[in-house]
Amino acid sequence: MELKRVVVTGMGALTPLGNSVEEYWNGLINGVSGADMITLFDASKFRTKFACEVKGFDPVQHLDRKEARKIDRFTQFALVASDEAMKDAGLSRENVNPDRVGVVFGSGIGGLITFQQEVTEFAKGDGTPRFNPFFIPKMILDIAAGQISMRHNLRGPNYAVVSACASSTNAIIDAVTLIRLGKSDIIVTGGSEAVISEAGVGGFNAMKAMSERNDDPKTASRPYDKDRDGFVMGEAAGVLVLEELEHAKARGARIYCEVVGGGASADAHHITAPHPEGLGAKNVMLAALADAGMKAEDIDYINTHGTSTPLGDVAETKAITDVFGEHAYNLNISATKSMTGHCLGAAGVIEAIACIKAVMHDIVPPTINHFTDDPELDPRLNFTFNKAQERTVNAALSNTFGFGGHNACVIVKKYQP
């Protein structure tokens, strides 16, 4: 059977750099850092006191107050970003066949803030269980997919995808597969994460995974810099409207680009450390290229996982030089986490949006905060340090890797009829 082609017809984003796709993209190409001191809770006793928060977000500006109260922050983000994406795609309750539109949505953790609040409340009591009836339906990770379907009346396939920090990339790949196989005409996909809380920051701090550069938050996320000391936590949601090409053409939709392939793999090595030679990362890029029917030379830009951790950045770079050979030196490579922080389960989709915009505008967003070269990294690679670069971006590849050794990669390309 011939696989159908999949195009992007709508996007939405809520990020530490801005609360819409345009604001986000402007932040990216201008090299803005989204990091600052934590305001969401009192972090004064925490090893890390800063993060990349979404700013100026008031749920009741977008959602009915009663509804907003019954959903976790990560779902609030998901709904607001899905509103933007649906509107951007020109879709509404009136003009879609709801049975042909699905939602496949990722998160790394789900409603951690709700879990923390409810359990803290219980622990303060005398052992009498007084859990809020909305506790479970607020917390569960799949609820974002469910809530998006209820808000927009979408009755096609509906589920969540979880692979830690690769979640929303895996969600995009699943969405592509469903459309390619003709199971749905449109899938609303992406991911959301909001765990900047005592449990979230404390938990990652305990793993020594996060930067502790409290005296200079804005330069703390510095992928590929010699003095990087861990990732900076971010929170975000991103939504893509993926659509079967003929369906998009028939309704006269604006086509941003084509999603030409995706790949997934595992390191099968360690719960948190990457394979030292980047084996899983290498395999996932090869799988995505094969799925897209492309050669390494067809790629112009790689948005790396690049979290600013000492081991991860090196392993992924090795994988890139293995896969791309001499062409690796023609590529633009950038780690936009230098600006957004690591938005965990939402990282994949917001970085896919960065790739889509790069393909649309022929601009590569930078890796900011580069001060000192790391001798462990190949100096001939172009990491797009500190300033955006203009170049033709015909195709872009986005890598994401998650704790557990999950790797996922997606490739987008300029749309050619």
Binding site: R69, R130, F134
Partner: protein, 78 residues
């Protein structure tokens, strides 16, 4: 309005997101104020917390209107 009645109504306005004017004694949580089954469970829990009492399930099931909540609490609140 008694102190208890005004505290009860404040909770209902807050949790159900309705206008104060709609919260009449006769108003039913589910039929008039848009509550679903989980909302009503939450309301009972909020009453318990606010008035520091425990409302047994079989009693809770009989509280379906604003007036019933007020009279129950006026009788049982400490």
């Amino acid at each position: 309005m008694s102190d208890i009645a005004s505290r009860v109504k404040k909770i209902i306005v807050d949790k159900l997101g309705v206008d104060e004017g709609e919260v009449t004694n006769e108003a039913s949580f589910t039929n008039d104020l848009g509550a679903d089954s989980l909302d009503t469970v939450e309301l009972i829990m909020e009453f318990e917390k606010e008035f520091n009492i425990s409302i047994p399930d079989e009693q809770a099931e009989t509280i379906t209107t604003v007036g019933q909540a007020v009279s129950y609490l006026e009788e049982h609140a400490k």
